[in-house]
Amino acid sequence: MKATAINNNYPHVSHRDASLGYRRREHALMLLLMSPAVLVVFVLLLIPLGWLIGQSFYADGFSLEHYQRIFTEGIYWNTFWVTFRISFIVTLLALLMGYPIAYAASILPRRWSMLVLALVILPFWTSVLVRAYAWLILLQRSGVVNESLLGVGLIDAPLALVHNELGTIIATVHILLPFMVLPLYATMQKIPSDLIQAGASLGGTPLHVFMRVFFPLSLSGVLAGMTLVFVLCLGFYITPELVGGGRTVMASMLVSRNIQLYSDWGAASAVSVVLLICVLAIFYVVSRLVPLEKILGAK
């Protein structure tokens, strides 16, 4: 097809040369079309990243002191520990809550599954601020949750559900749940239902079929979802800032503080680089098992 078109337009050129020239022009055109997008990302992301990395090694000349500080000074170490711990808990909770939802969506008839998915995606379209605000209202001492628990008699005094790490975890799980459900659903959808039926017809109990057939097949979705949620949670700033009561200090807040309060670019960049390396490492490891597009396709 291509050759015919070329020969029609450029009959005077030999077949081989035309092909080469065409390919070269084609490549040039394609690269040109890519260039505005690449330029934007290059200038606004790659260059600053490079500078940040450089800055992390700089303190009157090459120095590792910023990194040393991260591993020796309590506050940095603690912050990373808190960040990873919260991310881990959030990921687990998201998995526990998201898996049944995705499962339900994948086995329900179309109308119902669309409804479930719509309910999952709807919060997605609201700003994270709105959701953090809503959780503040819900979880405060005189908030809906406490009032109803008190009313039912389950507790005697209001629980401290917000302005602390617990509130941060609850709000974060809520915000990141769609990122767990969507990759899971995408994977589950592809599991052929005849496999399940085959398992059942071979005499397996539903639980057995689930554990031995369905779950292993859904693992790539599980991995994709967990990766996405974990990585997103690592970089969270707004939710812990609003709902954490000032006590839940995560890595992103450390970066922001160092820049805005102390203009300590060295410290900020070192924290950023460590965070980035963790994220890249996670993505690299997971991408060996699950293709990258699958994970990010959900976004």
């Binding site: 997008a37 934007v40 990302v41 500078w51 940040l52 998201g98 709807l122 209202i137 820049i259 950023s272």
Partner: protein, 262 residues
């Protein structure tokens, strides 16, 4: 199939609970916005449009809303053509460089947003683009590109490239062939990408926190400051409006896609 076993009931119950967990916060904000009291309380004691009035009468909020709209529209207008061009190039090129460029274009999604924000802040501080609207727009364009490209690439995958080839072999130049053959058929995905870009820019908070200020603050930044400092119920009104706007857009998208193409 319709066994009402305990496990089945508890499964359905569990799913229902999680779905409630997902939707509840959104539902809460709406009645809050109609409450009359100055301090947060739910259920609201009396009904009033007070907070909506406050929002529309306050020059600070209105200026922020204007900024948000300008930025969101501009982001969609700029990111869509750039993204479509990039998606087209990715789809049609076999160049070895493409693989790496694809990853570069996905970077805004991979890199933690705090680092993105820090980086953009640094570049803008150097170049004097801090607290400007064009600066905000370009940052949002960068963040929107992966969405546009992903949406358009999906659309291109479902499109039969040979149609464009045929048009070209019939004498059209490439650009015209694209505009009159390919583009109309991938229009749904292009619109999806454009709307994603719009909503993304409307809701973006983190980067804007770092690089916007003064009179060029978008709604989200103002809301963040207000939430952190004031817990002003006006925010409930704004949240309701923002959410309604996003829903309306998505609904528009769904309806548009349902329309039979001419």
């Amino acid at each position: 199939m319709n066994k009402l076993s305990l496990s089945r009931i508890s499964f359905i119950g569990y799913v229902a609970l999680v779905l409630i967990f997902l939707i509840l916060p959104l539902l809460i904000v709406v009645p809050m916005s109609f409450s009359d009291s100055r301090f947060l309380s739910f259920p609201p004691s009396s009904f009033s449009f007070r907070w909506y009035e406050t929002f529309f009468n306050n020059p600070g909020w209105m200026s922020a809303a204007k900024t948000s709209l300008i930025v969101a529209f501009s982001t969609a207008l700029i990111a869509t053509p750039i993204g479509v061009a990039a998606a087209y190039a990715i789809n049609n090129s076999s160049h070895w460089l493409m693989r790496y460029l694809k990853i570069v274009l996905l970077l805004p999604l991979i890199v933690p947003i705090i680092i993105v924000a820090t980086g953009v802040f640094f570049i803008y501080a150097l170049s004097g683009m801090l607290y400007t609207i064009p600066g905000l727009i370009m940052a949002d364009v960068m963040l929107a590109l992966p969405y546009v490209i992903t949406a358009v690439t999906a659309g291109l995958h479902g499109f039969d490239q040979t149609q464009e080839m045929v048009a070209r072999s019939l004498g059209m130049n490439r650009f015209r062939a694209f505009m009159s053959v390919t583009l109309p058929q991938i229009m749904p995905s292009v619109m999806t990408g454009a709307i994603f870009a719009f909503i993304q820019a409307l809701d973006e908070t983190m980067v804007a926190l770092f690089i916007s200020g003064g009179q060029n603050q978008p709604l989200t930044v103002r809301m963040f400051t207000a939430l952190r400092d004031e817990i002003d119920p006006t925010i409930a009104a704004i949240s309701t409006l923002l959410t309604a706007a996003s829903f309306a857009l998505v609904l528009l998208l769904v309806l548009a896609r349902r329309q039979p193409t001419a």
